[in-house]
């Protein structure tokens, strides 16, 4: 009896350890899978810094046509928007775009007018598979809320078979270009690998694969994003980031309409 009482009072260490492990396991799993919004914030961090300038090339291939190559410089400041200038080809050179929350403006120096034209963010960017907002908006968290869906294994062109977490980014503002976006991020370092874009009607109409991860602007980032348009038959656009620089000196007035046409 004494022995039994003593045993109850002092359980074997192994049993204690097992019990603690069993009780703690669900918490350990919960901590290792961040919630959807946290994942979305990490995706934003990994894709782009808060304030930066980058040089990119956008190549669009449409069935039966020559590839169209466009190079651009994009400057982004968190909370204000993006300022984009096309550097080539010659027929688009000098075209500038300014995007802010819910609005998008375009200035075309070939038009014979210096009045900026207001565009809808969801429209196609310069005939590519990207929408205007894909190119000019860098934060998902501004327009979407994240919901964790499941863990799975996918094939990725750069990493092969990868364990990933899938989450859904659901539009939380009417200005959002898509109804929702399915996202796959690599477990552990949360590198975004693949996005599927759905219209508000539920139609899947764009798919993007992120690859060619390199150290850039202070961390590992995807330098190539290949977008396939499912509604533009056979159109694929690839955005390659050549350089990216974190900047603290971007003036607010760069995002004023006056700067677009100056």
């Amino acid at each position: 009896m004494n022995l039994l009482i003593r045993d109850f009072q002092r359980p074997p260490r192994l049993v204690v350890l097992l019990i603690l492990l069993c009780l703690g396991a669900p918490f350990a799993v919960a901590q290792s899978v961040p919630d959807g919004n946290t994942l979305l914030a990490r995706i934003d961090e990994i894709r782009f810094p808060e304030d930066f300038t980058m040089q990119v090339t956008l190549t669009t291939v449409t069935q039966g046509e020559d590839p169209k190559v466009m190079s651009m410089e994009v400057t982004h400041k968190k909370g204000l928007g993006s300022f984009l200038q096309i550097l080539s080809p010659p027929r688009s050179r000098g075209t500038r775009m300014l995007t802010e929350t819910g609005s998008l403006w375009l200035y075309n120096p070939h038009s014979g007018s210096n009045r900026p034209l207001r565009l809808a963010p969801r429209d196609s960017f310069q005939g590519s598979a990207f929408s205007n907002s894909d190119v000019s908006r860098t934060s998902f968290l501004d327009d979407y809320r994240g919901v964790f869906e499941k863990a799975e294994v996918i094939d990725h062109p750069e990493f092969g078979k990868v364990k990933v977490w899938q989450l859904r980014a659901i539009a939380k503002r009417p200005e959002a270009a898509y109804g929702w976006i399915e996202m796959w991020v690599r477990q552990g370092d949360l590198l975004p690998l693949k996005f599927d874009y759905y219209a508000k009607s539920g139609l899947l109409y764009r798919k993007m694969v992120l690859s060619h991860y390199k150290e850039m602007a202070g961390r590992l980032r995807a330098t190539e994003m290949q977008m396939v348009s499912l509604d533009q038959t056979g159109t694929t656009s690839t955005l390659v980031i050549h350089s990216m620089k974190v900047r603290q000196d971007i003036p607010d007035e760069l995002f004023n309409l006056n700067a677009l046409t100056r």
Partner: protein, 403 residues
Amino acid sequence: MKKLAPLWGVLFLGLAGLPLSAQDEPGFNYVADAGQILLGSAPDWNSGATTQWLLDLNGRLSFSQGAAAFILDGSAYLPLGNSLQAGQALFDIAEAYVRLTPFSGLDLTFGKKRLNLGVGQTFTVGDSINPAINFFDQKSGFRGATWAWSPNAWLGWTGGISLERELGNTPGSAVPLPVFSANNLAGATQLSLQTGRFQGTASLCFSPNETFNPALGVSYDVSGVILTAEGAVEFLPQGLVPASGLVSTWTAPTAWTQPAPSGSVGARYTWSLGDIDLTVQGETLYWGQGWTSSQVAQANELSGTSVSTIRPTLRDRYNAIFHLDANSSDTFDLAGFCLVDLQDGSALYQASLTLTPWDSLDLVGSFQAATGAVTDAWNSVPLPPPNTQTARYVVIFQTRYHF
């Protein structure tokens, strides 16, 4: 002016010092294209078309260093013949100005420049497209000085002073105006606000004794539909009015007593249909500001007819504008444009097809026509530069190479 000379000198030296103190590397940017224009036109439907073949060169050049920049935007037209004779070439300068930026967010320009006012995409009722003072049209620009101050991302203050009439450009006056008179000055200023899906403008066009035309404009994006609305009121007399309702007697109303309103509303939407972006735009415009007494008097003097017989063509105007555009991945662009006078039914039509077989080459075919009778508002179409005449219809074929 002599008393002001030292001040101008100080101002010039001060502004000239800005670029000298700048340490930045010089920059050069350009946008340019060259091509040929083959056009046929006729003054009426029954006449044979007159043809013309031109080479043209268009460019926008920008030189900058530090806080200073020089911008030149212009075109050159050369008639294509067996030989080129002196005086045949025409150079058209749309903009040519020096821009100084004393501090980030403030631009001052001196030279010829366009100034944006309002939110309208085709016409803006607040920009005083106004033969009374010939201040400016936003497409043609004016000679003078402008400023643009952007204290942050959402607020802007712009403005300009035109010296066109000081420089002798006085088509609205029956007699030449005295040079360098304060009464010749014309100007405009605008406060603009852009926040989220809303854009708002408050502007004013002014000239002593000639025009005082405040305007408000708003633009809003409703689920991809871009809506615009503008209103303006002219407080100074812009034309003669029938005295006591008698069309035989015309008088200018007393200043500030008969404000003349103008207004417009419009909408634009783009559908993405597979590979094709289809844009539809509509706008209706009421223009209530007429012509000035001085211009009507000039017309009366020149033609020898009474004002009352000229006046019907110079009345208030109601117009509707329709614009349709189909664009496919930079391979083609098919556009149609129609401007209808809702009072007399006359219209301007334009259709154009642009093909881009290679990245830098455009092939453009277009057709423009006017349907109105001689007394109607839209009875002719302007020929493209360097021509200054009008025609009943114009057919154009262009090739354009961007470099």
